[in-house]
Symmetry: C2
Subunit: 106 residues, 2 copies
């Protein structure tokens, strides 16, 4: 998976934590939505409204979904966060990620 | 201009200066190419291979195209850089930009 085709992309970025976390929103023809983002080294807390798949494409981070242990991803890995939940990240080197917003049950 | 439609986007980011400058490449159906990028505060030098239109969508920076004076953009502004040229940036607050790669003569 190296590219997404026939998508719509917002020209303006989503900017968080003084620009240390940024993302761009893309919408597929079936209406599903992903964000492609960058996280610089730091510690961050996020919360979800939908279930999320976080696909790490590059970089090193530790993540903790509420109620679970800290886990490490180096270079490539995927984790899931339920809807309406918090998760915590310690980013150790620049992370390039793709976040997919999933319907519950997936 | 708030979104681009029917485009192809590379899933992996372009990462420069330890992640302080990042961009994502999009290709339009006619084959033209743009990058959507973020620059964190800092001083940077870039060089072009094609003529570039730099459209600043948010943030504050000074730019200097070789042979010209430093100029300031606050929040919104556009500048052009010829092919095979260097330009210099002093980014003062997080910049969200769209770079278009233009054929010469445009």
């Amino acid at each position: 998976m190296s590219q997404f085709t026939n998508v719509t992309i917002s020209t303006k970025a989503n900017i968080y934590f003084d620009g240390k976390v940024t993302s761009r929103t893309i919408v597929f023809q079936d209406g599903t939505r992903k964000t492609l983002g960058i996280m610089l080294p730091g510690e961050y807390e996020f919360s979800t409204s939908q279930k999320e798949e976080m696909d790490i494409q590059a970089g090193i981070l530790e993540y903790k979904v509420k109620g679970q242990e800290w886990k490490l991803i180096q270079n490539n890995g995927v984790f899931y966060v339920p809807a309406n939940e918090s998760f915590f990240l310690k980013v150790h080197s620049v992370v390039d990620y793709c976040c997919s917003y999933l319907p519950e049950g997936n």
